[in-house]
């Protein structure tokens, strides 16, 4: 996978580059600000951009805005946004694009999971930080449609929301793929989400459903 990294802190930028290199990926560019990101992507045509949310000059959401631009101009470039803190509103909005990921920065320390998520995003899948997902599910607080789910179905839903495929979920929960498929069907039925083969659309539908039940308040 060809990777562009945008991260303003040198140590972290170098660490990330080395991480991708160690994982057998090719880092084609690493930048220290968001402004040069779009031209760089245009020039290098990478498979994946890893972008820090807060970068100079204002340290608010430059990274997120640059990510949005890339997504609008280069649909098939995966974008993985890294954030220092959990934030559901931004996260859900961004993940509604295909090939988009939103993770807490310290997820990079779980190298295997992180690289798996990055590869998934580069391939057009999605990745949403487990903690964001937990927060979203917790906000339902046993009153919405989630109340009807069993414990196992809930775990499956969380992994679905994180962007994992059925195979990924099966591996994570030590289940057979067929069992996972059955759970997924149950979950989608209970949440009244139409069944679809496309895992990315599936995540989107689940998130929309959760977001709707949250926005109801």
């Amino acid at each position: 996978v060809r990777v562009v990294i945008a991260e303003d802190q040198t140590l972290l930028r170098e660490g990330l580059a080395r991480l991708f290199a160690d994982g057998g990926h090719e880092v084609v560019a690493s930048l220290s600000d968001a402004e040069r990101l779009v031209p760089t992507v245009a020039a290098k045509d990478p498979d994946l951009c890893v972008v820090d949310v807060r970068m100079p000059p204002t340290f608010t959401d430059e990274g997120a805005r640059a990510a949005m631009q890339i997504k609008e101009r280069f649909q098939d470039v995966g974008v993985l946004v890294l954030s220092q803190h959990i934030e559901t509103t931004h996260a859900v909005k961004l993940v509604s694009f295909a090939g988009f990921g939103y993770l807490l920065k310290d997820r990079v320390l779980q190298v295997d999971d992180f690289l798996a998520a990055a590869e998934r995003v580069a391939a057009g899948g999605s990745a949403l930080d487990p903690q964001v997902v937990t927060t979203l599910l917790a906000s339902d607080a046993g009153q919405g449609p989630l109340a009807a789910l069993s414990q196992r179905e809930r775990e499956v839903l969380e992994l679905m929301a994180e962007g994992l495929t059925n195979a990924g979920i099966a591996k994570h929960l030590f289940l057979s793929e067929r069992t996972v498929e059955a759970h997924v069907r149950q979950v989608l039925m209970k949440l009244e989400v139409p069944e679809t083969a496309d895992s990315n659309r599936r995540v989107l539908a689940v998130l929309t459903q959760l977001n709707a039940s949250q926005a109801k308040y």
């Binding site: 802190q9 140590l11 972290l12 660490g15 990330l16 080395r18 991480l19 160690d22 807060r54 340290f59 608010t60 959401d61 220092q84 803190h85 959990i86 934030e87 559901t88 509103t89 931004h90 807490l104 920065k105 310290d106 990079v108 320390l109 779980q110 190298v111 927060t135 979203l136 917790a138 906000s139 607080a141 009153q143 949250q214 308040y217």
Partner: protein, 684 residues
Amino acid sequence: MVFSGSTVALRSGRWDHGTVRPSSVLAWVLTVGAVCLGVFGFVLGALAGSDGSSWLEDVLGFSAVFASVAVGLLIAIRHEGHPIGWLLLVNGLVIALSGLAAGYAWYAVIAEPGALPGAGLAVRWDQAAWPMLFAPITAIVFLFPDGRLPSPRWRWVGYFALAAFAGVTAISLLDPDVYDPPFRGRVSAPEFLPAWVRADLMLPFLFAMLVSLVAAAAAIVTRFRRSTGIERLQLKWLAYAVSLIPAALLVGLLEAALTGNVDVAGGLSLAIALTAIPIAIGIAVLRYRLYEIDRIINRTLVYGVLTLLLAAAYAAGTLVLGTALGSGSAWATAGATLMVAVAFRPLRERVQDVVDRRFSRARYERLRRIDAFLEALRAGRAAPEGVEEVLREVLSDPDLEVHFWLPESEIYVDARGQPVPDAPGDARLRTPVERAGSPLGMVVHESVDDESPELLSEVVEAAGLAIEIARLRVELRRQLDEVEASRARIVSAGYEERRRIERDLHDGAQQRLVSIGLELRHVQHELGPVANGAGQALDVVVDELGRAIGDLRELARGVRPTQLDQGLLPALRELAVRAPVPVEVSATPDRLPDDVEAAAYFIASEGLTNAIKHARASKVRLEAQRGDGTLVVQVSDDGVGGARGSQGSGLPGLEDRVAAHAGTLELRSEPGQGTTLKAVLPCG
């Protein structure tokens, strides 16, 4: 207390009510002593049946003693540091003592010789202590009305007068001349001093005493000449009372001419005049209804002149009609009486008119208006800021302005505390206002009508107390505003500081920990799969690092949620999402000033924490809606209710926070009805 801001009040001692001051005790002792001595002397005189003590003398003596000690007591108690109170007390005592000496001497020497001890001393005091009768009054004249000499240079005159009086009194007492009848020959007068003392020294000392009396008169004339405002009014009181003495003598002369007797009308007039002097001194020193003097002089003049004119008219009428109708005719008397009765009303109006024009009545009315305002101010019926309106009215200048001087900031401000620019184009006059030598402000006004140029300064001086109070209130209000503004700045700086700390945690410490973790992962990778033990150890370290980063993130979120950067609604949503109970959020999507958003967030956060921790709520509602120029933040729950402001609820902190934004906080928490916390924050 009357005119409490005066110099006199400032110099008087401060004391707690309820404790008896030694000076008060002394004043009462002097008063009671003088009255007892006076009564004792009167009784002795009456028992002696003396012809030396006439009815008139008794009345005069008592008037003088009572008026003197009563006024002296009043002044001494209110202004213990003021010498005139004590001088009046001493004056009463001296007069009483001399009355006692006279009565005692008559009783012990003439009526019942040998019945009482000390007859010789009483005779000596009666015959030789007369200079002492003049001493306190002379001292009062020197010190009137403020208790100080006209100027420091006058102290030499004071020493001179003191020496003169002391010399005359000492020589007279120690070496009296031959006694007057009936004591002459009955009582021997032992002499303590060599003969040449009386022969050569008495005359110069007597002359010096006379010079002292003239100097005292000069002092008061000097003072009157350069006096303005209140001091002039004070001096007028004394002048008025003193002028009653010649008036009383005139009445006595008229009475003597008409009836051959002076004891009734003349004597009473003199008694009134003698009583009036201490009372006038008291009014002047205590500054009680000072302005009335003009009305009193006015009335006295009107009725005095009226009486003289009517008496003359009556006499002329009697004379003319008597000539025409025959002397002693009852018709002549009736006709003259009728004439006087008919002439009374028109004549009085005419005289009143003339006197009013001579002694400006308008001025009196104006000063009275100000005094009425001060009275209303004391009673709490008027606000001191009303002084501007009163001055406009009194000086008939609707554009008049009072500007207050703020010594701290060295600027002039108006009654609302707004600084007033010194417009050079403003041609109006500026009259400074001072009290006790320090500037209070100035009155900006049109030029005064030429009727009386003194009027303005008099009016302004009379209104000085109100201007001073108004100035203090303006200053206080400005300082309060300043304190509130600085509190708002401190709170705002607090928000800024939280933002900075949050940034430092996220972008500094947290990032560094992540890089260290990445470094470790790289090392782990370099080690390869062979070094299993080391690899596992590194896994443990990196996991620990991950937990530290998570802790750090929570810490930063507590300091200030990053969502506030996106606005209040996302921040409140974030808050709701994390709560362990369902939380409804309904907030304005509008962006508001940073510190209003921060305040609203922390209020909601605190309220939510309370609802969960103390109210055992199962459902909470967070609202933040815009009102009319305000943001209304409301946290309501379905918990147990009954919350109080204190007991660790964090409510005082919230109150401070809300107050710093000039907002209001309201807590409704009936037991069993849930709790609603409502904060209203102004937001432009």
